[in-house]
Every structure is written in structure tokens, then in C-alpha cells.
Amino acid sequence: MKLRRLTLIGIPYFWLLALFLIPFGIVLKISLSDIALAIPPYTPTLDISGGWQAVRDFLSELDFENFEFLTTDDLYWKAYLSSLKIAAISTLLALLLGFPMAYGMAKAREDWRPTLMMLVILPFWTSFLIRVYAWVGILSTEGYLNQFLMGIGIIGDPLVILNTSTAVYIGIVYTYLPFMILPIYATLERLDESLIEAAEDLGCSRISAFWLVTVPLSKYGVIAGCFLVFIPVIGEFVIPALLGGSKTLMIGKVLWEEFFSNRDWPVASAVAIILLLVLIFPIVLFQRNEQKQREAEQ
């Protein structure tokens, strides 16, 4: 009995330890190391056979040099800021697009809703990478979009969309839209229609009933959706790499380049640690929102 309980409680902790805390510890350790031409490409490495003295030598060689380095080159903080900006704007765009879609779904006839829901989830059945590549085909100068627009004669010369920030926004909003729609839909669908009627009965027009009742009651869904888009977009790497060309600066891309192009694992790790610190703030807010929602629903 006791063993079973221990196992039950132990599994999630083991999971957390194995898949988050240990990797985090390794990355943190690398971020405090120095770059070296070796395998692995950093120093020091811990050799436990050396005993207590080896551990002390090892610890004395760790320092914050890489973090200091991040402050000397303005590439890094610009990349962080640019990521935050792109994430914020994409979140806003996804909200502007996602809310009406979720609202439409929630107001649709009941027997249509599962179908609409499936249409929202459908893209997840294809690989994310393939879908982003598909956008390359659509947005490039010889792509389908330009062919179509030139074909019907709206434009004479092809639009340059690929490798601009516009393409990045299109890609991000497209990819993350379901994460915005689903939580908003969940709150709107549960919304009691008689509350809208009560508001109208008490003198609200349709529009003011929407602002005074529908919007505040979908608040938790909106906040959840915003975080579900904002948090992963900050660290996004594939979309800016494939659609944004060299001009779009995002921290995920910087990280990738440090790791694979420069093979500077310690600096890359430091970038990752800072990214994590940046993300902790919205993640905590997100958790608090979820908690409040549960309390409100109880």
C-alpha cells in the first residue's frame, strides 16, 4: 500500500528530475564553464576519481564570464528584446484573429462544433516542419501567393514577403493560432446564454452586453491563450530560421548559431539560462491565471 503510494508520487518527481532538473543542472554547469577545443567542447569536466580535491578544483574553475560576455555584445540583448517584441505582436495578432474564430465556433450550431473543432486541430496531424516549409512555397517570389496575385492582375511585380519579418509573423500566427483558439473557445462555449439575455434585459445593447459580459467571462481563456502563444514564441527557432532569413533577429536563432555554428557551448548555455529566466515570469503568471480560473469555477 505504502509502496504503491510512493511509486505513484515518485513517478512525476522522477520525470521532473530526469527530464528537467538534471538537464537544467548540466546546462547551468556548461554555462559556467569555458570554451575549449575538446570533446566535449568546454572545460573543466568533472573527474570524480580524483576525489574531493578534484571536485574543489572543478568548482573553482566555474565562473560567470559567459554571462558577462553576453552584456558586452549588444547582439544578445537586442535578440532578447526582438524576440519579446515579435512574441508580443504575434500574440496580439493571434488574439485578434483567434477570438472571433473561437466566438464563431461557440455560437455555431451545436452539431457543427465538433467539426469546426477538428478543423482547428487538423494541422497538427502534419509535421510542423513540413507546414512551415509549405509557407516557403507559398510566400516566395515565385510562390503560389505571388502567382495568384499576379494572375488576377492585382500586382505587376512579385511581392517580397519571404525572408522578411512579415513572413515570420505569418508563420508564427498560423502555427500558434490553435493554442489561442482552443482555450478561448472552451470558456465561450461554457458561457451561459441567459447571462447575455439578462444583460440585454437590463438595458444593454448587443455590443455592450458583449463587452460587459462575454469579454470579462472569457478573460481566463484569453489570458491562457495569450500565454500559450507568447511563451513558446519567445524561444521559437524554426520559423524565423526558415521564413525570416538573416534579417530577423530572434534569441532562438542566436542560440542555435552559438551551439552549432560557433560551437561555443558555454555561451549558448548562458543564452539558454537567461532565456529561461525571461520565461519564468510569464510562466508563473500563466500558472496563477489557471489557478484563478479553477477557483472561479470551483
Binding site: D192, S194, L195, E197, A198, A199, E200, D201, L202, G203, C204, S205, S208, L212, V213, P216, L217, K219, A296, Q298
Partner: protein
Amino acid sequence: MNQDTSGKEFAPWNDASEKPLITFKNVTKKFGEFVAISDLNLDIYAREFFALLGPSGCGKTTLMRMLAGFEAPTSGVIELAGQDIAAIPPNKREVNMMFQSYALFPHLNIWDNIAFGLRREKMPKDQMEARVEEMLRLTKMEKFARRKPHQVSGGQRQRVALARSLAKAPKLLLLDEPLGALDAKLRQDTQFELMDIQESTGTTFVIVTHDQEEAMTVASRVAVMDHGKLVQVDTPDVIYETPNSVYVADFIGDVNIIEGTAEANGDSVALTWTEGQPALIGSANQPIAKGASAAMAIRPEKIAISSEKPTDRTNVLQGKVLDIAYLGNISTYHVQLDNGTVIKAQIANTRRIARRNFTWEDPVWLSWTDTAGIVLAV
């Protein structure tokens, strides 16, 4: 209730010169193929306290929702003060509704829920605050003003819903089961409060209730509905004393229904109902053809019960006591006749239980006068 301030009887429905506030003209409401309201005609007058009574699903809420503007009639016309209201949206109608489900705004506290309608009409702040406080006092919810609806009890939520609909003091108030969740004492207090409000403001009330005693207490007129139709619309005493059908008699209050065949007999109607028993004599409101099947509706409190055979009453039956239900102020005796029929008779408990005259299995005589029972066609 039926008296207005001048002392003259309040009965605008009897006055051909009075214009009704609300008129339903051949109103039918269908949900798909289902007919919720069927060709309904009804006049409700200003300052009335109009009660809708009927079994679950008979269309009471639908009727209210059409008045409030949430459902449009499939056919027919609803007029408010002589004007067809089909085109007027709910927020432009001088009508407030208390929802059966309360529909309190979960994101607003109780104070703000009550103030919601006042804010929409841009009432000055101090005036609004006074009004909300008044409503809170009226519904005894002052202590809970800062709580959210999910933090108060079901009965308290119902009171908030009532306060919110009363706050705007509309011309017409629709209350869909406003007091169902309250305890007897609070319900009675609130009924009197509502009657006071009605008297002092002249608001017209339409109220749905499942509690016929409540309908009797507060209403100027009662409408009994069944399957989307009005069966009878009359003052409470008429509904109770002279129901127009077995359905109404059975629905309002306790009643014995004795089925048989009508025999014309002067002013009153005789009802032969079983072999070897004398015919029962009662009065009839509608002419009933001789030989038609009919039923007598007789209220338990109109039946006397005695150990000696009474000589001064028209209808006399013998039986034995099957069961006694003690209800505090009254007792209901279930008396079984020789042919197996069970008749309920009620007696006021003026004496202590220990000293009552009859007990189980006692042979007794039941009797009532020739005007006490109503003979109805079935």
C-alpha cells in the same frame, strides 16, 4: 389585493372601457415542430398581479420570454400598451425579467449585479447607491453585498436575482418562480413585500409559480395553463370555488373527483356515480347534457365528517376511516366508501389530537351541501 386605494374593487378585466397593458392575440410559438404556445389570447391590465400556474413544460417561461423579447411568436401579435412589440429589442422594452435560472453575473459581486441595470440607464451615483441599498435591505442581503454570486446560498442567489429585476422599477415585471428556493417564512415576507411594491409603485407583475397557495395570496388573477393553452383565467376565488374543468379543479388545491353520469335536475345537477348509492347533487356552471359523462369536484374542507348520519345535508355517504394525515392546523381523513372509492375530508384541529373523535377503521358519515360540489363535463 383586489382593492385599490379608492376602495372600489380592482377588476379592470370586467370593465369594457379599460385598455389592457398586454394583449396576446392568437399567439403561437413553435420550436421546430413542437408547439410550446398554441393560439393563445390573453389580456393583462396595468397594476395587475398576474399569476401563471401550470405543470412543468406547459409554456410559462416561453410566455414570459416572448414578453421580455427573447423569443418571437411564430404567429400572432403581442401588444404592450396598444403597440406591437415584435420589433422592439429586449433592451428597449420597459420590461424586466427575473430568470428562472437567476442568470446572475458571476464576475460581478452582488452589489454590482443589482446596480447593473441602473448603471446602464446612467443613473446619478448617489441615487443609484441609495437604490441598490434599498434593494439589498428589501431582500435582506445587506451583509452579502460584496460577495460574488457563487459565495452565497441558493436562496440568497434567488433574492439577488429578484432584487436585480426590481431595481429598475420597470412598468412590467416578469418573475419566473421568484420565491421557490426560499423558506416558508421568508417566502411569506417577500410575498407581502412584493404586494407592497406593487401597491406603492403600480408596477404590473406577471409571476410564474408552482405554489398555488402563493398564487392565491398575491394574485389579482390566476391563469392556469396546460400544453401551451390557457385553461382558465380568473380571480383566485373563482378559480378555486368554480373551476371550469376537472383539470383546473385538480391542479388548484386538494380536491375529490367523483366520476359519473349527469342527470338534469332543475338548477342543480345530479350525478349518478355508482350502483346502490343515491345520486350526488351539485351545481354546474355550464349546461351539461343529460346522460353525458361528468365528474363532481368537491374540496375536502367542504365535506363534514360525523359518527351519526346527518339529516340536514343533501349528499350523505357512509364509509370507514382508512388513514388520517395530521397537518398541524388541519387533519385530512381518508375515508373509504363501500365501493372502494377513497374520499378526502378535512377538519380543522381545534382540539388536541388525543381528543379527536375518530380513529382508524371507525365507521363515519360524510356529508356536504348541494352547492358545495361542482359538476363538470369531462
